[in-house]
Symmetry: C2
Subunit: 320 residues, 2 copies
């Protein structure tokens, strides 16, 4: 019996660009040096001990940097009820990234039919039914339905961590399908939400720079879907609601990659979830999001795959 | 605007049993005391700081107890490629627990049709296509395809942690849909695999007992599906391949609940994944699995929801 290790293959007819080549090179190094393991699907990896060591250090440093918020801890599973997903309107803006769950609800007879189809080499998904669950695309989504309808004076600070899933298979190791964001959410007044975002940007930048990363803070340009999405994307840039912390993962001549963000939602979630401040006004919210895998992989890209040989200042900043 | 907090409702016509009542009582206490948050779907919860504190302590204690294995760390995302899922034959044994992922692959026009259907209050899952991904039902599954085809002398020890998902909605807080198993896997010879399971059962039992839990070790009785499954379940008990560590979460008069397991797979995964020892024989495997959420919730059930008031010995064993 021969063994076929799963190996993810590029799925494209396009000639590779310099950026494609740089991404393939980093991916190859991370796999060859045993930082990540190829699970056989683009953007899905196993993580080894060296990855986990840096990842845990990045997360701990992010938490320390926001300790003064005294935020309430909330952790979420990788799936959320369809009803909660629907309240965020995600399917309107990012349908191509959304992922729904289905399951088998049939009896013994239906199961035999499924297995017979499978034995014939046919697909068996038609035997499944929607499970009314979605993979959570953004870890802060479940928060807004849980914190009660009136936000106390001073607002609420929340420390949120969970699995995110976005259906964008890619051979770029900076673009995973399954990843984690550690988010520090504030829900309060228009002024306190804006201050949460604006006042903390310098500290986030300094933290990422202490890891040895060169950081620019730029208006975000999220991949809204379709023709309506082009308008939404333009609005997002013009309104400067969301900023991204970007760094050169692939050298100074290639585009930067976002590794964290600072996002002012204004009344978006307050309206959708009926959140109010004590004076009866619609609550505003803002969110600082550390992209844990992206920061971790940016560090391996910049400093190499042997953390014990990283610069002493970088190791000290990470507590490594 | 009024707020509807999501509240999970029982979905049954059956008269509640004493066990149902005990489960509802524990669930109610965990929600009322802010240990868990109801996400609006049975068996899916948000976790608060007090939950996370005990959960992290349980996990750290489990890791310490297996430190002598010097196991290689592997971490996995909550989804796995369909091809990997198929090699485990899970859909034959547990179709009702399996969960498949689908996504939207259409264009702008198809998206408008989806949104129009949604606006009419119709379901929109028919606009999605299978994504060739499954939610991972058992965190050790991805391991066997990744460790190479020949296991070195002495075998391989692996420290595996990841999200598991099983589609079994329940109001029993001990039965989650999304949960974590910390598994310590050995792949080696028939003798080393059996020793991995048998020799470590007393230590696992002692660890769980040090948390103040009364533990019995009993043959497992997994919920194999359908009529063929009844035969498989009987075989499992007769062959004594899998043992469960069970405890009385709901008092001495009601059935015990499994919170960990020790499982000898014999050549099951070695054959499926073509794993061999150096002498060319099919590799055997075994797995010790700590059910992190189940242990954590059992502790809250037994000791109450305020860990600072738990018995000193229990807190010391957990490092709390």
């Amino acid at each position: 019996m021969t063994i076929t290790q799963p190996t993810t293959q590029p799925d494209t007819d396009q000639a590779p660009t310099a950026l494609d080549a740089a991404r393939a090179d980093l991916r190859g190094r991370l796999l060859a040096d045993g930082v990540l393991l190829d699970l056989g699907s683009p953007g899905l990896y196993g993580r080894t001990g060296v990855f986990e060591r840096v990842y845990a250090a990045v997360d701990a440093a992010a938490v320390r940097s926001q300790a003064d918020l005294d935020a309430d801890v909330l952790r979420f599973p990788p799936v959320e009820p369809l009803a909660a997903f629907e309240r965020t309107d995600y399917i309107a803006s990012f349908p191509d990234l959304a992922a729904a769950v289905s399951g088998f609800t049939g009896d013994d007879r239906a199961h035999r039919a499924l297995l017979a189809a499978r034995d014939r080499g046919e697909r068996w998904e038609s035997f499944l039914e929607p499970a009314d669950l979605m993979l959570t695309p953004a870890v802060c989504h479940p928060v807004y339905g849980l914190i009660g309808d009136v936000v106390p004076a001073g607002g609420r600070n929340l420390d949120v961590l969970g699995d995110s899933f976005r259906r964008e298979p890619s051979l770029d190791p900076m673009r995973l399908q399954a990843f984690h964001m550690h988010e520090f959410v504030h829900v309060g007044t228009p002024a306190s939400a804006r201050a949460h975002r604006d006042d903390r940007i310098p500290g986030m930048r300094a933290l990422l720079e202490s890891f040895g990363l060169g950081i620019d803070v730029v208006p975000a340009n999220d991949p809204f879907f379709g023709r309506v999405g082009q308008v939404l994307a333009r609005n997002q840039v013009e309104q400067s609601l969301k900023f991204e912390f970007v760094t050169h993962v692939y050298g100074p001549d290639l585009p930067e990659t976002a590794i964290s963000s600072a996002n002012l939602h204004e009344d978006h979630f307050g309206t959708s979830f009926g959140l109010r401040t004590e004076d009866g006004a619609v609550a505003h919210s803002a969110c600082l999001a550390f992209g844990l895998e992206r920061i971790t992989i940016a560090l391996f890209a910049l400093h190499g795959t042997a953390p014990d040989r990283w610069d002493g200042d970088v190791r000290a900043a990470l507590g490594l």
